[in-house]
């Protein structure tokens, strides 16, 4: 029952896990050297998606908030970079590479961090007071509003055509231009992922992480124990927004181009799919989910292009099946596993209770 006499087992287990993670990290670092260009592009795609899944996992998995419009934050990051870099139609004193200089990309990355955090707070403040289902629909609505607005604002976002010729990142001192080569983006994303995971793990093992779990388990009791439930939810939401924004900046600079078509509700669903499939509330789970949702179809598509039609169809089947048979996901977080299997919602008439 107690862990008292298992410390040796725990220690060796932790050693094994650490070794596995180290090996995995090494693998990730060297793999691009052994694969084709097309495969490297896919790796970048997977890494971007993994960052998105990581962020949504905080919102959905940790804080238990169903956000169906998550991709909107991705869009704001991408468009901000597009606009501030001067590639967009708008002309202001602070748009354009001359203003931001050689470090432009990196500075704007930080700027987007701040902007997206603010947007997350602004969006979350009215929204997070709503109950679960309503929250989901409102976030969906917001996501669509962002997309439609981006689709129609000729003078700011370039409307349906979007913004093109967005500059690539550069590293000033050594004069390195990322260009179209997927490799530097891949390593940048790995770095961002590592940072993100560190931040999230630190939060998880703090009073904030505990607060999130408490809110998920019993929001009323959490409040009674002094947890500032609204602030904690807002924090999760804002962090999720920030992560998506960062991913958006990298994506926009890699593809040189951003348009509303990439930010529809189905993209939000895709990220949600990754988080759910991988295991809600589990960091390795959301990463695994990203690999499966994006990696597998992309690699399959290389070999069997005709299968692409079936992608969303398969996702639909997977989502329903997962919810019925394995709601805790591929790599479940132990806590969520128990929650999802045992708990029920008292409002919904279930055969378990009636």
């Amino acid at each position: 029952m107690n862990s008292g006499n298992g410390t040796n087992n725990n220690r060796s287990r932790r050693l094994a896990v650490n070794a596995a993670v180290a090996l995995l990290a090494l693998f990730l670092l060297i793999i691009p050297n052994f694969v084709s260009l097309a495969a490297r592009e896919i790796l970048v795609l997977i890494a971007t998606f993994a960052l998105l899944a990581l962020g949504l996992n905080i919102v959905v998995g940790f804080a238990g908030l169903l956000d169906l419009g998550y991709i909107a934050f991705y869009a704001t990051g991408a468009y901000t970079w597009g606009i501030l870099s001067g590639a967009g139609p708008i002309r202001l004193p602070f748009t354009g590479t001359e203003f931001w200089g050689e470090w432009g990309f990196w500075i704007i990355l930080l700027v987007v961090l701040g902007i997206n955090m603010c947007i997350g707070v602004m969006l979350g403040s009215p929204t997070l007071r709503l109950r679960g289902d309503y929250l989901a629909i409102v976030t969906l609505g917001f996501g669509e509003i962002v997309r439609i607005v981006a689709n129609n604002l000729d003078n700011v976002t370039g409307a349906a055509l979007g913004i093109s010729r967005i500059p690539h990142p550069k590293i000033p001192f050594i004069g390195y231009d990322f260009g179209l080569n997927p490799l530097p983006y891949y390593y940048l994303l790995l770095l961002l992922l590592a940072l993100g995971i560190t931040v999230i793990r630190r939060l998880d093992h703090s009073r904030i992480g505990r607060a999130w779990i408490a809110i998920r388990e019993d929001e009323v009791a959490a409040g009674a124990m002094g947890v500032s439930t609204f602030k904690m939810k807002l924090l999760a939401f804002a962090i999720g927004a920030t992560t998506a924004g960062v991913a958006g900046v990298v994506f926009a600079s890699k593809s040189n181009f951003v348009s509303p078509a990439s930010f529809d509700v189905f993209a939000s669903f895709l990220v949600l799919c990754a988080v759910v499939l991988g295991g809600m509330g589990s960091i390795p789970g959301s990463l695994a989910g990203a690999v499966v949702i994006v990696g597998v179809p992309s690699f399959l598509q290389l070999r069997f292009p005709q299968l692409d039609e079936y992608r969303y169809w398969m996702f639909g089947i997977i989502l329903v099946s997962m919810m019925i048979f394995r709601p805790q996901g591929l790599i479940p977080s132990k806590r969520r596993e128990a929650e999802l299997m045992l708990e029920g919602d008292p409002d919904i008439p279930s055969e378990a209770t009636t």
């Binding site: 109950r131 409102v138 439609i148 997977i318 329903v320």
Partner: protein, 323 residues
């Protein structure tokens, strides 16, 4: 006073009421299921889509190669198409409940699981159609030509009407769609309020556990609820197909969201609210399209959704509940 609000208004009203009636029919499905299960049936939009598909397939099969020869023949074909559309809608809804929701109910799954399963079912259904029919729009062969039945510039009252209103022309199709939808809604409303099963539905919507203890067969009630919503959505599919003449695997998405908005606007769980919400939304949308341009049409629905959920989540006809 801009044109869209003065001279065009009656014309926009007519169109809005017609579209709104279709929204209302779909909205009813959302509101009924929410009332009984406290769930947003995300996949309801695909039930509607299947209704349009049923109509399309039937019309496609029945229209002779040379085209429709007379208005009567066209009308007959349309009527015939109603049957598969409605039946397909009902079947799809019931199957949906069985496959995507009931297993979760059996397990006592948390609310999030239902929402995700609904999204999955929606993806599955719409993409199944995509795989089968392809991603492009399909147009309905011409069946019945819609004609202008009411030209306010040409009536007994022309002399006393203001100049702007004399230019209003209303099509018979709009009127028919509106009337059919209203009849269907009234029928459902009466059914829910008068029949034994309807009582069961209302009981489960209020307090499922007690209803079960009082002998109400909850599974049957839930099945019937989905069935009614599905039949209506199928019928809405037919009306939509006739009104707009197009369909596509993803055609359900926007009307679905808008219908849900309508249900929320009217008060989720409230049948008459669904009706009111649908009509209001249809009119608002149409007027906004006239005032700001067609490209902003869809934003209206989302804006209303967001605003209602923020400021009056219980909707126009709902009671103010404590959250």
């Amino acid at each position: 006073m801009p044109d869209c609000l003065s001279s065009e208004l009656p014309f926009r009203l007519a169109g809005g009421l017609s579209t709104g009636a279709v929204y209302a029919m779909i909205a009813l499905g959302y509101t009924l299921v929410y009332g009984v299960l406290q769930l947003i049936n995300f996949a309801h939009s695909e039930v509607f889509m299947l209704g349009t598909l049923g109509a399309f397939l039937t019309v496609g099969a029945l229209v002779p190669d040379g085209g429709v020869t007379s208005q009567t023949q066209g009308a007959m074909i349309l009527l015939a198409a109603a049957v598969p559309a409605v039946i397909l809608g009902g079947l799809a809804a019931v199957a949906l409940e069985r496959v995507a929701y009931r297993p979760l109910r059996r397990r006592g799954a948390p609310r999030l699981a239902y929402l995700i399963s609904a999204i999955g079912a929606s993806l599955f259904l719409s993409n199944s159609v995509r795989i089968w029919r392809g991603p492009n729009f399909e147009t309905l062969p011409r069946t019945v030509r819609s004609r202008i039945v009411l030209d306010l510039g040409d009536t007994f009252f022309t002399g006393i009407l203001p100049e702007s209103m004399q230019r209003v022309r209303i099509q018979n199709r709009d009127i028919l769609v509106f009337v059919v939808a209203m009849l269907a809604m009234v029928a459902v409303d009466q059914f829910i309020n008068r029949s034994r099963i309807g009582r069961g539905i209302r009981a489960v919507a209020q307090d499922a556990e007690t209803a079960g203890l009082m002998g109400v067969n909850i599974n049957k009630v839930i099945t019937v609820t989905f069935l009614i919503g599905g039949l209506l959505a199928g019928a809405a599919g037919l009306l939509f197909a006739w009104s707009f003449g197009v369909t596509r695997f993803q055609i359900g998405f926007l009307p679905g969201i808008k219908a849900f908005t309508a249900a929320v606007l009217g008060g989720i769980g409230n049948i008459r609210g669904a009706l009111l919400g649908g009509l209001l939304l249809g009119v608002f949308e149409n007027v906004a399209a006239g005032c700001f341009g067609v490209q902003w049409r869809d934003v209206v629905a989302f804006l209303i959704l967001v605003l209602v959920l923020f400021f009056r989540p219980t909707g126009l006809l709902g009671d103010k509940e404590a959250t």
